[in-house]
């Protein structure tokens, strides 16, 4: 086939073309307002993400009363910090201990606590993670560079209903005396899914 420059210049990735066509049709039909779409994308690109959850974890580390509230009624405790809504309507906080490490998955789709963690990363939605997290979580954790002590139990939470789980990792050693903001900086997204551990203070 001859090399055709004009064809190249007009080339759209097939998915990009497909999505653009649907957006055009729905906009023309008065079903979708592209400005509302922009607002949604801005919200999850800029406002709602794992730094929200990190604040929740840091406060739980720093404030035992808040940690108790979080354990009893995570939805209310998290809402009191200003994080609530879509895909976080029914929250449960699960606390790692020396004897149990928690890991969250959605084997059936991609359920994830949006108000505290934002949209899920690609790996969380991948067939590899969804299939293996419930079967061989220790092997999966090793792929994240996490090796748990041998005696520690692994509890996997498969998000099959509308409950959304936030893992509260153990407070790292050496973090005594840090402010909540400094503590939050140690909390990684993956540690709130259970696929990682918090950073250790330098």
């Amino acid at each position: 086939m001859p090399h055709d420059h004009s064809d190249h210049d007009n080339h759209l990735d097939p998915m990009e073309a497909r999505v653009r066509a649907l957006e055009t049709i729905l906009t023309q039909k008065g079903l979708v307002d592209p400005a509302a779409m922009d607002r949604i994308i801005e919200t999850y690109s800029e406002d709602v993400g794992p730094r929200n959850g990190a604040q929740v974890v840091a406060r739980a580390w720093d404030d035992p009363d808040f940690a108790d509230w979080l354990a009893r009624d995570a939805t209310a405790a998290i809402e009191a910090m200003g994080f609530s809504g879509r895909q976080g309507e029914h929250m449960q906080a699960v606390f790692n201990t020396g004897s149990v490490h928690n890991l969250v998955v959605c084997t059936l789709c991609s359920c994830y606590p949006w108000p505290v963690l934002g949209l899920p990363p690609v790996w969380y939605k991948s067939p590899a993670y969804r299939s293996r997290a419930v079967y061989e979580p220790r092997v999966v954790l090793a792929e994240f560079g996490v090796t748990l002590p041998e005696g520690q139990q692994v509890r996997v939470w498969d998000s099959t209903a509308e409950l959304r789980y936030l893992v509260i990792p153990e407070r790292p050693a050496g973090s005594e005396g840090l402010s909540q903001a400094e503590l939050a900086a140690l909390v990684t997204r993956d540690s709130m899914i259970g696929a990682g551990l918090p950073q250790v203070p330098a």
């Binding site: 084997t107 059936l108 209903a161």
Partner: protein, 219 residues
């Protein structure tokens, strides 16, 4: 349904590829548009979240496994829009449609933030007393419904222990098919790894699912 989405315990998908928190949220602009289109179209109120999940599950397995995540979403969205007569195949083929006035439920930019903040709680009051209590041994029923269900295959037939009672929640198996919310009590049920995977289970593993009452029987 025993669709391609029911992945727990399936093998052959290879390793997990972690990405750092700094990795882009969307790997192409169109992925962000798919997310937003799906939410905007959902706001029209013609289908439930359960129905949209079911639309994704109904993709043929070869398509489901061969598609990226947001590709699954756009394919399912097109199916939902066609099924509910919001678009015609001819519109998709032409790539353009006749211009119409705004739908009364079209999501406005101003309504986005309050709508996301409100979400859509699924808890519902129930009058029936619970059939099970925390500590009860229960078996996940052996069932293979042709329609939508949220009982994954890997727990069916296995015995576990009720850990928590979450009260009434909308029942996806009916709600996905326009048969109403039919709320049922929802429980967290914990299974020992051995009960699910036998001798192949990792030591010290437990797995829980959230299961509606009719998914369970006393063991």
């Amino acid at each position: 349904m025993n669709g391609p989405h029911d992945l727990g315990g399936q093998m052959g998908f290879g390793g997990v590829h972690p990405e750092g928190e700094g990795a882009p949220l969307f790997h192409a602009d169109w992925e962000a548009r798919v997310l937003a289109l799906t939410l905007c179209a959902g706001a029209l109120g013609r289908w439930t979240l359960d129905e949209s999940r079911h639309a994704r599950e109904c993709l043929p397995p070869a398509v489901y496994y061969g598609s990226s995540y947001y590709e699954i979403w756009i394919r399912a969205l097109e199916d939902l829009l066609r099924t509910h007569d919001l678009i015609a195949q001819a519109d998709l083929t032409a790539g353009t449609a006749t211009v119409a006035d705004a739908h009364p439920k079209r999501l406005t930019p101003k309504a986005v933030a309050p709508g996301l903040r409100r979400g859509a709680p699924t808890n519902r009051p129930l009058s029936a007393a619970p059939l099970f209590r925390p500590g009860d041994r229960v078996r996940a029923r052996v069932m293979h419904p042709r329609g939508h269900t949220r009982l994954p295959r890997y727990v069916r037939g296995a015995v576990g222990v009720v850990e928590a009672d979450h009260g009434g929640h909308v029942f996806p198996d009916t709600n996905a098919h326009g048969q109403g919310e039919a709320p049922q009590r929802l429980y967290t049920v914990v299974f020992e790894g051995r009960a699910l995977w036998g001798v192949d289970a990792e030591a010290g593993l437990t797995v829980s699912v959230d299961a509606w009452e009719s998914y369970l029987e006393r063991a």
